[in-house]
Amino acid sequence: MSMHETAIGTDPAASAIEVPAASATGVQRLTMAKALNAGLREALSGDDKVLLYGEDIGALGGVFRITEGLQATFGTDRVIDSPLAESGIVGTAVGLALRGYRPVVEIQFDGFVYPAFDQIVSQVSRLRFRTHGALGVPMVIRIPYGGGIGAIEHHSESPEAYFAHTPGLKVVTCSNPSDAYWMIQQAIADDDPVVFLEPKRRYQEKGEVDVSAPPLPLYASRTVKPGTDATLLSYGPMVRTCVQAAVAAADEGRNLEVIDLRSLSPLDDAAVFASVRRTGRAIVVHEAVGTLGIGAELAARIQAECFYELQAPVLRVTGYDLPYPPSRVEEGYLPDLDRVLDAVDRSLAY
């Protein structure tokens, strides 16, 4: 049992991670799953060209029920059950996008995106470039990702680095229901293809969603908790973990800043540099394996831009360089509050 573990339900991080509501009107309390559903419903209502496309997304509403009820409202021409072939889904979505539609593709699980890898990295990402800007493929590829749900093999992957490494793609991820609601709509409205990563272990966590106005542009990071002693940089499922760590560290008199990157490509590195220049310390936290991951990129950029302000090397707390292990040991594999605090200790010891 972790010394810092907090019982679910009395989690002080829960309030810290919520986006403050701008006004009382239009504020709803939703799970991330319901927030995504509501965001997709808005996008479908607002633009006839928006299509949802994927396996089991119709009558079933997707294996995570993110599209529940949408086919009943918008019909089978706009909420489309596809054959079971990911390359086929993304490849035909390219054709739809080239003819003026805005397909929102659902990949059922992170580990099933790889059959579509060529279509994503060789076609979707570079059609604009290879046609000198003549043809674009506005498309969102939604991928439930990450571990922590006790799943079998291939259902807990964090593939973000592959896509962030590819010019022409944008990669974003939400950490809370408000961002889920707004970011999915902003991604659909973007004229560039967006890989939209959904932290599946956070699907059922609730938060306040103000449906009257988006809180931030899509590609901006958010300072979830301001602090002075070190900067925790994270995204998606690990943001809550980092906030929990910051709350626990506060008990020991340490004031940690937590930044939710939200966008992994492009990276809002200006905000990262500003924070690290103040705190002098940076720790990147993600579930994906460390080697050549988002943390590696951030570490390289921070050392190049903030060299004289750094009080310690940039540290990484990540999944180990293993294929994702069986669920009975995933707790040890995934970064948790204790591993984050251990890294904070090491950073502050310099």
Binding site: A85, G88, G91, T92, P115, H132, D190
Partner: protein, 375 residues
């Protein structure tokens, strides 16, 4: 209608390619397919085929002279390309692979523009490309899925199965015998069948995927693949421009009317190399090449039209002059293509260019400028 045969390995009647013009230039009757055009239309087809062959020969020569990095020759496939392309009409969409220079010609692409891609002065789009003709695809088979998606868009646009035939469109997508082994092509077949998408899969079986003969790709004739997916497949003599056009018109018409996809296997031969980097003498015999040379698509049409009195020496002379002028324009156009500037490419990656790329471009320009200052 000629449907695909069963999945057995016995040769069937349908394995014999549909033919309306034999290699000697004699017109043939077929119970299901008829060429409806006039001899004047066929003379226009001959002109397109001759000019496509000349474009190809000039581009091949330009590569040999070092002016192009690579060229994939279409030599031998002129009837397959011109016949199918002449069956296309607006608002049909055309999705090529990378050897469709004859199709590009028919759809109005300036052949000089094609050279940009192979000279390295640009990527794969061309100012003269019409909106209904898509850029070449180089990842084998990838474009077949795009074509099915476009056909799904046509369905949603209400451009399929209308009483007014002029309101209907379809998609024709080109690929080769090698591509039929790709997962994407098989997924495209499956998606198109399941959605009854108005798409004509036009497979130019030129017998060779670089060095691998078609038998390496399939135990059954390729057109028969369609049967398992639940749509018609036909094999047509790809060196017979009349048959190719008649079969493609039928297939496009069926698709436009809402009849779903069709697979057309145009049985032809790649007389040249796969690309200018290839040496076909290493993997195929001169006897085989000679056998196919006797089936030349241009020779047989010329023989027919000459015998029919539809063309004469003056017509031929005018065509030679036109081809010479086109060749000269191609040579001049090739060496006159403007050199690209790397600085122009940062703005092409995204619709909304992120700061990182803006900064990188500025760094690149500053670095380049530092050499100028040092001079």
């Amino acid at each position: 209608m000629t449907q695909s045969a069963g999945n057995n390995r016995e040769p069937s009647v349908a394995d014999v390619p549909i033919q309306l013009l034999d290699p000697s230039g004699r017109r043939l009757d077929h119970p299901d397919f008829h060429y409806d055009g006039t001899d004047a239309d066929l003379a226009a087809s001959l002109r397109d085929m001759v000019l496509a062959r000349r474009i190809d020969a000039e581009a091949t020569a330009l590569q040999r002279k070092g002016e192009l990095g690579l060229w994939p020759p279409l030599l031998g496939q002129e009837a397959a390309q011109i016949g199918s392309a002449r069956a296309v009409r607006d608002p049909d969409l055309v999705v090529p692979s990378y050897r469709e220079h004859g199709v590009a010609w028919c759809r109005g692409v300036d052949p000089v523009d094609l050279l940009t891609t192979f000279r390295g002065t640009g990527m794969t789009d061309w100012p003269s490309r019409p909106d209904t003709f898509y850029p070449y695809a180089f990842v084998i088979g990838s474009q077949t899925l795009h074509a099915v998606g476009m056909a799904m868009a046509q369905q949603r646009d209400g451009a399929v199965g209308n009483d007014d035939p002029d309101a209907n469109g379809a998609v024709i997508v080109y690929f080769g015998d090698g591509a039929t082994s790709q997962g994407d092509v098989n997924e495209a077949f499956g998606f198109a069948a399941a959605t009854s998408a108005p798409v004509v899969f036009f497979c130019q079986n030129n017998q060779w995927a670089i060095s691998e003969p078609a038998i390496v790709q399939s135990r059954v004739p390729l057109y028969r693949r369609a049967a398992g997916f639940g749509f018609p497949g036909v094999r047509v003599d790809g060196n017979d421009v009349l048959a190719v056009q008649a079969v493609t018109e039928w297939a496009l018409d069926l698709a436009r009317r809402g009849g779903g996809p069709v697979l057309v296997e145009a049985f032809t031969y790649r007389m040249g190399a796969h690309t200018t980097s290839d040496d076909p003498t290493k993997y195929r015999t001169s006897d085989e090449v000679a056998e196919w040379r006797a089936k030349d698509p241009i020779d047989r049409l010329r023989a027919y039209l000459t015998a029919a009195g539809a063309i004469d020496d003056a017509w031929e002379a005018a065509l030679v002059a036109e081809a010479d002028a086109l060749a000269a324009r191609l040579r001049d156009g090739c060496v006159s293509l403007p050199e690209p500037d790397l600085a122009d490419f940062w703005d092409l990656v995204y619709a909304n260019t992120p700061d990182l790329l803006v900064r990188q471009r500025e760094e690149f320009l500053a670095y380049e400028a530092s050499f100028e200052e040092a001079r």
